[in-house]
Subunit: 230 residues, 2 copies
DNA sequence: GAGGCGCGGATCGTATGCGTTCCGGCGCCG
DNA sequence: CGGCGCCGGAACGCATACGATCCGCGCCTC
């Protein structure tokens, strides 16, 4: 009846909805996510909702207890540290690979890294602009940041690495962290990204990996500030 | 009618079955896994089978195409390399953490690393024994190897790292690789594990990480020999 | 008054049914 | 003779139905 009939299935719809509700804070950690009510809200049946919950459980966003249901995962300080350590490890590796492979079509299935990195440079420019404007367009900074990281992973050209990273980055903490970004943090972030792009463009794997690692490990502290629960 | 009525749900049953069938080679890469027939074979309905397939898809063991079904993933040489690189990265990190945390109860939720590592030493002994006997008890070596790696990850005390590792180790390649182990490989493996345990027991993070990395990166070549498809 | 026990309600886990989508083969047309 | 469109069959995606399991609460016993 609407405009779009079936862009994607009901399952994906449920998945996105629950995910965004968690990220937005509408679903607080520890609260239960009932299948029935959610199905009614979305206008679908319990089956796709159930599958979406299983997918979210696989990513660690919710915990499922047999015959009890699914509840939103709680994040302790230690969990946050763990996630950021792993992100540093994985994204560092991604940056290293990106630097090594930049415009060096060694293996098959590679297309146009250089082109992909033109985008990355554009993202960096956007970040810089926001850094100067300071403040208002923070959403834009978040988006530029996300795009830059995505460009790096694309250049790394390692689907499984990307998948692993998604498993730990899916957390709403990444978004929440930005809410606690001080201006100094933002400046440091921009500078870090500068080194990162520099390292990749000059095929300096050590610089790229190191810059990415410090970028993430630095962000960890900003994130830690937003971890309130035990 | 059997003995056990409900040890665990039908979903887990289906999951294990499909997984082992893939590992055993009963399901060859590229072939389709139909929901209906499998449900009949297992004596359950399509629903739990379907959920099991989704779980396996999340781990990358099968690929699901909408309205077509699930088929066993094919492994190219490049996929194998990628998996082993990631294992080296993750297990290396695990070894590093294990060495850093060995008998140093800094954070909460740590119990008895030292005790956990008594087990690890025992596993190492078993590996050594097999190394000397050479040949016959290769299954025992596989098991000892698995136990040792598990002990390291336990000592690393990082649930998410463990989960990520499972995502890439789930592959049947790990088991297959041992089938192509030459005696020299086995000896190298034992020596590598020796350094690994040494590094952890002496809290030498660099040694532990390095030993684990070379152990895995070495095993990659043995695994590469068993990768036949394009 | 405190603790154990049984009952009712709610929710999940699985089974089954129906509509939709896609593939493979056959006939028609250029 | 080759390419294109239609049609039948099969499998999936989702909806719905039913039985199993667990929690909360009131009652009974000590």
């Amino acid at each position: 009846m609407s405009s779009a009939v079936q862009p994607d299935g009901a399952r994906t719809q449920a998945y996105r909805r629950i995910r965004s509700d968690i990220a937005a804070g509408a679903l607080v950690p520890g609260s239960w996510v009932r299948e029935g009510p959610l199905a009614d809200t979305l206008g679908v049946s319990r089956t796709p909702v159930r599958e979406a919950l299983n997918a979210l459980a696989a990513e660690g966003l919710v915990e499922i207890v047999r015959h009890r249901g699914a509840r939103v995962s709680s994040w302790t300080r230690r969990d946050v540290d763990e996630v950021y350590s792993l992100r540093a490890l994985l994204e560092g590796e991604g940056a290293r690979l990106a630097a090594e492979r930049a415009d060096a079509p060694v293996t098959a299935t590679l297309h146009e890294h250089e082109h992909a990195f033109a985008d990355a440079a554009a993202d960096l420019s956007r970040l810089r602009a926001v850094g100067q404007d300071a403040g208002p367009a923070l959403d834009s900074a978040v988006e530029a940041n996300r795009a830059l990281h995505a460009a790096v992973m694309r250049a790394a050209d390692s689907p499984r690495l990307e998948s692993l990273l998604a498993s730990v980055s899916s957390t709403p903490l990444v978004a929440l962290a930005f809410g606690h970004y001080a201006d100094a943090d933002l400046a440091r972030s921009v500078a870090g990204h500068h080194d990162l792009v520099l390292g990749i463009e000059h095929r300096d794997a050590a610089l790229a990996e190191s810059a990415m690692r410090s970028h993430i490990l630095g962000a960890r502290h900003a994130a830690a500030r937003s971890a309130t629960d035990a």
